[in-house]
């Protein structure tokens, strides 16, 4: 399909032009923020009543110091503790429309992939579509939410997170630098590839990835493939670690025989798999765990 790249470039230019035009004709005091779906949202003032329908978005809002502006969250948001008192308005894909409307939000932030986004806009609600999946998305999320919330330090906050990661890399034991890590995100053998957020985190900490790139961000891997890949370290959930030797061929895997396995508690799994402000605390746990392992 030779015409496809040209069409994409043309559409890119069109979206950028329309967004710039919208920004130019907006009232001077108004804020215009462009979401991940290319739709520009114009707010008359920074948002003060925010509904988030994705856990990572609630975490970023709170990390920017605007937790008190959250009036509604999705049912999977469980951090920080301050969100426990915020009204739950359903899931990211099946939010309760009436509950959201009653909260009178001046900003709803949610993933662009949810079909309900059109219905919310149809009801005249201000929706900003953001879905951080990788580091670049997270940087954009911080910037967009900073603009929508009128928080000038948003970019600086993300830069600080990256700087903290850089400092953390220096604390990785030299013997483990370059070690090939198999990071499992699900008991069904879904692994984190180099193209995922976790994969990028591993790379930034100086680790390698047992999964080769090109398989997608979270490929479903066959047990045999992992045995053949022979990773140096396995990072799996606490619930799974006791069942590793039951997988065909895994009992003889050197990493398991030499106990080079990190058992990940759920809280750390959330911190590592959700692209958000907890990436540093999740990375700290990962580095601490791997440093404690004995390299053979």
């Amino acid at each position: 399909m030779g015409w496809w790249p040209e069409m994409r470039s043309l559409y890119r230019g069109l979206v950028a032009s329309v967004s710039t035009l919208l920004f130019a004709i907006s009232p001077a005091s108004a804020l215009t923020v462009v979401g991940d779906d290319g739709v520009a949202l114009t707010l008359s003032k920074p948002a003060t009543r925010v509904v988030t329908l994705l856990p990572s978005l609630a975490e970023v809002v709170c990390d920017l110091g605007a937790c008190d502006r959250l009036v509604g969250i999705d049912r999977y948001t469980n951090w920080p503790p301050e969100t426990a008192n915020v009204a739950v308005v359903g899931g990211g894909l099946d939010p309760q429309l009436e509950a959201i409307l009653r909260l009178r939000p001046d900003l709803i932030v949610m993933a662009p992939s949810a079909r309900v986004i059109a219905r919310l806009r149809d009801l005249g609600l201000p929706v900003l579509a953001l879905e951080p999946k990788r580091m670049a998305d997270l940087a954009r999320t911080y910037r967009a939410l900073g603009e929508a919330l009128g928080i000038a330090e948003a970019d600086a906050r993300f830069t600080q997170l990256q700087s903290d990661l850089g400092v953390l890399k220096r604390s990785v034991d030299a013997s483990w630098l370059g070690a090939r890590v198999y990071f499992e995100v699900s008991d069904e053998l879904y692994a984190a590839g180099p193209d995922s957020f976790v994969g990028e985190l591993l790379t930034s900490l100086g680790f390698g990835n047992a999964i080769s790139s090109g398989l997608g961000p979270f490929p479903k891997i066959s047990p045999e493939w992992v045995v053949r890949a022979n990773p140096d370290v396995l990072v799996v959930s606490e619930q799974t670690v006791g069942r590793l030797t039951q997988r065909p061929g895994w009992s003889g895997m050197p990493a398991i025989a030499e106990k080079q396995v990190c058992a990940m508690p759920q809280a750390q799994a959330d911190a590592l798999v959700r692209p958000g402000p907890r990436l540093v605390s999740g990375a700290q746990w990962l580095v601490r765990c791997i440093n404690q392992l004995k390299r053979s």
């Binding site: 994409r8 559409y11 890119r12 979206v15 950028a16 979401g35 991940d36 779906d37 290319g38 739709v39 359903g90 894909l93 099946d94 309760q96 429309l97 009436e98 509950a99 409307l101 009653r102 009178r104 662009p112 992939s113 949810a114 079909r115 309900v116 986004i117 059109a118 219905r119 806009r121 149809d122 009801l123 579509a129 879905e131 999946k133 990788r134 954009r140 879904y190 997608g216 979270f218 479903k220």
Partner: protein, 339 residues
Amino acid sequence: MNARNTTSAVSVALTLLLAAGALTCLGLMVGDGTLRWPWGLTSDPITAEIIWQIRAPRSIGAWAAGALLGLAGAIAQAIFRNPLADPYLLGSSSGAALAVAIALALASWLGADVSGAAFWGGFMAFGLTGAAFTGALLAVILTVTLAGGVAQGTRLLLGGVVVGVVLGALTSFLTFIAPNVLLNMQGFMLGSTALLNWSAVGRLLVVGAICMAIAATFAKPLDALQLGERTARSLGIPLSQVNAIYILLLATVTGAAVAHTGLIAFVGLAAPHVVRAWLPCQHRALLLLSSLTGGVLLLGADALARLIFSPMELPTGLLTALLGGGYLLWRMGKVGRLS
């Protein structure tokens, strides 16, 4: 149909319309954990918006989608002369599901490039509904092609099964390689009336009215078809043309319903059975009454879905599967005791 039967059919139709009216009122009352009559509450602009922009289009849309499914079920059972035939028999549900999966997967892959997401973001609102409708129609065309035409019911049934299985496997494959679309697909497969707005209501009512008018016009050949294909041909019924018209109607009404509500189970299957148990009648009345019954069933399920665990709601399709399946089990038990 003689005068007595006509009177009975009219009475049943009026009863169904009254039931629809009552359930619509229930639908306006349900949604925030309380059961309150909306009159007098509309002075609050938020409440007024909830009632007129969420509950009202949702309730009427549920009735309209249910009516389409009821009509589709009656058509399917008539042309295949099989009481177990449902609207999805010709693979339309699998086609719609595959089209939605493709649209979601493409949007997800292109979303890695923000501008790609921009391309699909604007497309999503119309795209998923349009994709589902297109997928449903294409699947039926594929079935008809595999069956070598519309003349033979058995070949159409087999073609529909094959298409359903193959397209279902392709959908599973897509969700396997793009697991991030799984949750969205689950919502579509379970069926929901939550996204119905006034535009959707308009589309459903227009499609329903046109298809009902055409179906009623050509209802007499359906009565002849119940005597068997050979007998129908001997009576001068142009079987191929009749089948073609009704298969097109079946694909259109099913596609329209599925595009807006996802895969709602059992409404299309159960509605004609409810009508036949109530009032044996010819197809001109059966088509209309099945449509009205389907509307009442889905409208009732929608209200229940919002009422049972209010303010949380169950997927409407889950409830129709439980209730419709339960009703058919009861009917089977009753028929078994009588025989």
